[in-house]
Structure formats: structure tokens, C-alpha cells
């Protein structure tokens, strides 16, 4: 099989909620075979992203202090992280909000709660679409 796009291997997951963080990490590792780092706030995400160098960042929208969109902007302003693809997770999957998040420059917006059984597959599909594979 020829590589038509860079493989997705390292994912950074940012969510203040420890339960969901754990579920996401395990689900992505076990079902997707990805290497996953998880952190609990926007502030820690900046440092972690520089050290971990993820292929993709999954970002919760609603977090205390620094929320998802603020974290997004901060990541975009950080040298070396300007172009790393970011996908939002939100419990308020309202169309206006989804639209706003996409206009911000997010790759995609996923609904919470997610299904642990299929979240890795969904993320893979987003990655493939991002690289122009939409069969």
C-alpha cells in the first residue's frame, strides 16, 4: 500500500475532565494504535505540544480558565505550532457554534460524548479527508 499522506501517529488530547481524558486516551491507543498524550488545561497544552510534537491536537471547547478557542489561538501564535491540525470536541454541537469553530480554522468539530468504540476510526477519517483522501 502506498503512502499517499503522512501517517497519523501522535495525538495530543486536551480536556479538563479526567474521566473523559482517560477514556479518550485508552480508546485512541487501543483501537487506533496511536501514541496519545493527554493534558488537563489549555496552559499545559502549550508546553506539552512543544515537547510532544503531535501530528494532531484534539481540544475540548469548554474548559475553565482558558477555554478551547483561546487555547486554539494561543497554539496558533506559538512558533512551531502554527500549522498543527486541531479538532474540537464539544457537547454543544449547535450549528452556529460548529460553524464558528470551523471558521476559526479547526479541521473538524466532533460531538461529546463520543463513542469510545468508534472515536479512533472517526479521527482517522478526519485525518484522511484532511489529506485529500475522500473515497
Amino acid at each position: 500500500m502506498s503512502e499517499r499522506f503522512p501517517p497519523l501517529s501522535r495525538i495530543l488530547y486536551v480536556d479538563d475532565e479526567p474521566d473523559i481524558r482517560e477514556v479518550a486516551k485508552i480508546a485512541l491507543e487501543v483501537m487506533g494504535g496511536f501514541t496519545v498524550e493527554a493534558c488537563e488545561s489549555g496552559e499545559s497544552a502549550l508546553a506539552e505540544a512543544l515537547a510532544f510534537r503531535p501530528d494532531l491536537i484534539l481540544l475540548d471547547v469548554m474548559m475553565p480558565r482558558m477555554d478551547g478557542p483561546e487555547t486554539f489561538s494561543a497554539l496558533r501564535r506559538t512558533p512551531g505550532l502554527e500549522t498543527v491540525p486541531i479538532v474540537f470536541f464539544t457537547a454543544k454541537a449547535q450549528r452556529a457554534e460548529v460553524q464558528a469553530l470551523l471558521e476559526l480554522g479547526a479541521l473538524d468539530v466532533l460531538a461529546k460524548p463520543f463513542d469510545p468504540m468508534s472515536v479512533a476510526q472517526t479521527v482517522s477519517e478526519i485525518w484522511m479527508r484532511h489529506h485529500g483522501w475522500d473515497d
Binding site: 479538563d16 475532565e17 474521566d19 473523559i20 482517560e22 477514556v23 485508552i26 480508546a27 491507543e29 487501543v30 483501537m31 487506533g32 494504535g33 469548554m62 475553565p64 457537547a91 454543544k92 454541537a93 449547535q94 450549528r95 457554534e97 461529546k112 460524548p113 463520543f114 463513542d115 469510545p116 468504540m117 479512533a120
Partner: protein, 545 residues
């Protein structure tokens, strides 16, 4: 390396156990943060409560505790609303938040074995959450009160925006739009369009319309509104429609009997229909079709035109000679030439033909449409049109079977007969439409409060019979006492009329050797006795052993 599903499930189960362990502590924090009965409720406390509710909503949802997640979502929304508005939360708002917090805290006794680790989430359906869009606060409050009486969890919204935010957080089982104050349904159509754009499946919608002309109806059909109800009307009529929409995905599957010349083809066809949610049986042989029909009781028959022992048309004719099957829809699969030949014969075409080969989706649609017709007819025959309960005749047939079953298994079985107190006076004073509404409301309430296995029949007039398997008279008495209280609290009638009503109940138990007629007689006598005790009396037959 990617692992296995079992591996993931095992690890998720561990996380879920942790969640359950921590839950009581988190719920007691919810109780601590809620607005106090008296005194100040600082913004910081409200913000903490909002975050806690948000986090509970997410975790509970992730671990499959849908009910708990729905309760947390409600608390989060109410709290967020209070935090983002300009002024301080009103006393009403604080009370609503307190109630939502209590409801969430009370949900702590979850059964750890009940919920699966990961499930498709439709908590709004499970909790019968209903959203009402109504810009008139007075009408909204009134409707919400009525809907609550019938077991819905209604919530009113004054604007489309507020409704959409709530829907994004928790999909309701149905959205009700009050357009009764408006000349045209334009606002309702805009709301439904915004609501269901890109939503699959769409949320069922009901419009209470100010005008019922064909133009308005057409416009709402085009917009995808499921029910158009000119308003004001009987609230029981509204509830009947809502109940139908709310139980769309709980209805029994259509039953299709398949008979084909080639058994492998029969199996393949059956599998195709099963995949689209129908229940099928493959008939073993044409000459044993009558046994199979009696045993399986299908909604329709699908068969080949050419069978080993006879033709499909011949067999269909034989089947129709039996009154019970005289209107069973039959669909015959034939070669294109055979279909032409049948058309040329020009006789009365009792049967439908499809030319083989039939594309799968065409076959599915053809079968579903015919089976659905038959099922509708069957329910119409067995159901009393006013109340939707079984007719006297249908009830009598079932009571025999239930009696035999109870005797065979040596299980308890109780019959209750009830009627509405002073129903004649009520009809005379307020008119028959109001009386009908009261009766329908009682039928609906009974259907909600009773189990699926309980049989409900209308014995003419205002008399309703209920057969309760696996129930002893004392349990039935308790049950009907609760229903009595709920019914007495209901307000009936539409425009300008508000009446309440009560019912009396007579209860009798099945015993070895007691026939159906004797049991009914015993319950009726006990009811007569109850009537002497005044409105709302419940009597149990004194057992004579």
C-alpha cells in the same frame, strides 16, 4: 499496535467503576452548591455548580448513564442561563435550579450493572423530554402543566434560539410548537427548518395551529412537520398524537411470511427483509401454509407464482376462503411473462404481482407498505376508536387466554373494572365532547401507568376493564389508588371549560375453576359496591375460600 475491542471494554469498565465510586461524593457537592432556600447565592458558587454539572454530564454520558447525563445537562443549562443573563437570578430561577440539582442528586443510586459501557445515546427519548416553543408565557405554563400530567418532561422556550441551544444539549423525543396565536405557520416552519436541518433522523414535530386551512397544512407538510393540530382542541387528542410520535421506535416489527419455490432463495429474501427491521418466517411448504399462518400470524404473505405443488394464485385463493385471512395482503413474485398473462386475464386482481428479478429496495418498500396496511387495519378492528383500548370483543378473547395461562402456571391474575363517577351528569352539564375527552384522558393515563402485559378494554360507556397478570388484588388496589390520585388532579376540557373527574374501582381475583364470565361478574358486583362508598372508592372482592 492496535488492541482488541475486549481489551478496550475491559479498561473502560475499570474507569466506569471509578466513576461510580466517586459519584456519591460529586452528587453531594451538587447538593452543597445549589441555591440556598434563603439568602445569597454568589456567582462563584453558581459557576462552580455549572462546571460540576458540565463535567457530570460528560462523564455520565461517556459511561452510558444516559438518565444521569440528561439531568446534569438540564442543571448545567439552567445554571448557565442564570450566570449569563444581565440581572441576578430570580426566585423562580433559583427554585428551578434547586429542583434540577435535587433531581440530579437523587439520580445517584444507579445500578452499576444496568448501563453498558458505550451505547448510542438518546437520553431525551428515554426520559420523555419534550420541548415546547411558545412565546406566550401564560399558554406555555398551562401546556407544560398538562403535559407533565401525562408523564412527559416538558420544558418551555420563548424563542427559537433558546430552543435550539437546549436541543443541541439534549435531543427531546418531540418538539411541540404553539402557533395558535398566529394567522400563518411561518414562524413554526422557520423553527422546524432550523431545528431539523442536517439532522438525521429528524426530531418529530407537532404544530398547534391557529388556522386549519389546506394552504397552511400544505406548507407545514412541505416543511416536514409531522402533526398539524388545529388548536384549541382536546388535550387528550394532543397527547394521543404525541404518544404515537414518542413511541415510533418501540413499535413491533411487521411480520412477513415468505414462501418460495427454492428454499435458499426464501432464506435470502427473509434475511433481506429482516435487515430492514421486519420479522420473517419461511413457510416450509405450500400445502402446510394454513398451519404456518395460524402459528406465525403474519401481516402479509410474500410468495412465488410458481410453487412445487400449486400456483401462487391458487394458494392465495384457498387462503382467502378462511375469514380470518380474507384480507391478508399477498404479494406474488412472478416472471415478467406471468405478470403480463395475469394482467391480460383481466379478472378481479385480489393479489399484487411484482416481476422478477425485483431490486432489493423495491421489494422492501413493497412488502413494508402492504404489511403496514394490514397492521393498521388489525389495530383498528381490535381497538375502540375513542380510547384506543381493546374493544369488548377483543378483550373477551384475550381474557380467556390469560385465565388459562394463569391456571396452568398457577400464577395470580386480577381483574379491575372501573367507571367514571357521575359521568352522565358530566356529559349533560358540559356536553359529550368534554365527556369523551375525560374518558380518553383516563384511557391514556391507564396506558401510561400500567405495564405492557396488562390488558385494557373498554366495556362500553365509561366502563373500563383492566386485566393484570402476575398481580394479586392488594397490589392492584395500591396501583389504582395511585392512579386515582393522579386522575383526580387532572383538569379536562378545552376552551373555557375546566372540569375534574374521579373514578370508582372494583377488583376481583381469578381462582381455579372460575370462568371468564364469572370473574367479570365478580368485578362488576364489587364495583357496584364501591359506587355506594362515594366518588373515588376502590373495593376489593372479599374472598370466599
Amino acid at each position: 499496535m492496535a488492541g482488541t475491542i475486549e481489551d478496550l471494554e475491559r479498561r473502560l469498565a475499570v474507569l466506569r467503576d471509578h466513576f461510580i465510586q466517586d459519584l456519591p461524593q460529586r452528587l453531594s457537592r451538587v447538593a452543597a452548591l445549589k441555591p440556598p432556600a434563603a439568602g445569597d447565592w454568589p456567582d462563584e458558587t453558581a459557576a462552580d455548580l455549572r462546571l460540576l454539572a458540565h463535567s457530570l454530564k460528560g462523564s455520565a454520558g461517556t459511561f452510558g448513564f444516559t438518565e444521569l447525563s440528561a439531568r446534569a445537562a438540564r442543571l448545567e443549562r439552567l445554571t448557565a442561563q442564570a450566570l449569563t443573563q444581565a440581572g441576578r437570578p430570580s426566585a423562580d430561577q433559583k427554585r428551578a435550579i434547586g429542583d434540577a440539582a435535587d433531581a440530579l442528586a437523587a439520580g445517584g443510586s444507579i445500578d452499576p450493572t444496568a448501563a453498558p459501557a458505550a451505547v448510542p445515546r438518546r437520553p431525551g427519548r428515554a426520559t420523555k423530554t419534550l420541548y415546547l416553543l411558545d412565546e406566550d408565557p401564560e399558554r406555555s405554563r398551562h401546556l407544560v402543566d398538562q403535559l407533565r400530567q401525562y408523564g412527559y418532561q416538558p420544558e418551555g422556550f420563548a424563542t427559537q434560539e433558546a430552543l435550539l441551544i437546549a436541543v443541541a444539549e439534549l435531543e427531546p423525543v418531540v418538539v411541540l410548537i404553539d402557533g395558535s396565536g398566529e394567522e400563518t405557520p411561518e414562524r413554526a416552519i422557520a423553527a422546524v427548518t432550523a431545528l431539523n436541518a442536517d439532522r438525521n433522523p429528524p426530531i418529530p414535530t407537532v404544530l398547534l395551529a391557529g388556522r386549519g386551512d389546506i394552504g397552511a397544512r400544505l406548507a407545514t407538510v412541505r416543511a416536514g412537520i409531522d402533526v398539524f393540530l388545529p388548536w384549541p382542541a382536546e388535550s387528550s387528542e394532543l397527547i394521543g398524537r404525541l404518544d404515537l410520535l414518542a413511541t415510533l421506535d418501540e413499535r413491533e416489527a411487521n411480520r412477513v411470511l415468505v414462501l418460495a419455490a427454492d428454499p435458499i432463495e426464501a432464506d435470502r429474501t427473509a434475511a433481506l427483509l429482516e435487515r430492514s427491521g421486519m420479522q420473517t418466517r419461511v413457510a416450509p411448504a405450500a400445502l402446510r401454509i394454513l398451519e404456518t399462518l395460524a402459528d406465525f400470524s403474519p401481516d402479509m404473505l410474500l410468495m412465488d407464482a410458481a410453487l412445487p405443488d400449486c400456483t401462487g394464485v391458487e394458494l392465495a385463493t384457498v387462503i382467502r376462503q378462511f375469514p380470518v385471512w380474507s384480507n391478508l395482503p399477498v404479494l406474488i413474485l412472478a416472471s415478467a411473462a406471468e405478470v403480463q398473462r395475469q394482467l391480460a386475464l383481466g379478472g378481479p386482481m385480489a393479489d399484487d404481482f411484482l416481476a422478477k428479478p425485483v431490486p432489493a429496495n423495491r421489494l422492501r418498500a413493497a412488502v413494508a407498505a402492504r404489511a403496514e396496511q394490514r397492521r393498521l387495519l388489525r389495530t383498528l378492528i381490535a381497538q375502540d376508536p375513542l380510547t384506543g383500548l381493546l374493544t369488548h370483543r377483543a378483550f373477551d378473547r384475550r381474557i380467556e387466554a390469560e385465565l388459562a395461562r394463569a391456571a396452568r402456571m398457577d400464577r395470580p391474575l386480577t381483574l379491575a373494572i372501573l367507571d367514571i363517577d357521575r359521568f352522565r351528569a358530566l356529559n349533560q352539564r358540559h356536553g359529550y365532547p368534554v365527556g369523551d375527552g375525560v374518558l380518553r384522558a383516563l384511557a391514556l393515563l391507564l396506558r401510561r401507568r400500567l405495564r405492557r402485559s396488562d390488558l385494557l378494554g373498554r366495556f362500553g360507556g365509561d366502563r373500563i376493564a383492566i386485566l393484570l397478570p402476575e398481580t394479586v388484588p392488594d397490589m392492584a388496589e395500591e396501583l389504582f389508588d395511585r392512579i386515582r390520585i393522579a386522575f383526580a388532579a387532572m383538569v379536562h376540557g378545552g376552551s373555557g371549560v375546566a372540569v375534574s373527574a374521579t373514578f370508582s374501582t372494583g377488583i376481583a381475583a381469578a381462582r381455579q375453576g372460575r370462568t371468564a364470565a364469572e370473574l367479570v361478574r365478580a368485578a362488576e358486583l364489587t364495583l357496584l359496591d364501591a359506587k355506594k362508598g362515594g366518588d373515588g372508592t376502590i373495593r376489593v372482592e372479599v374472598s370466599q375460600v
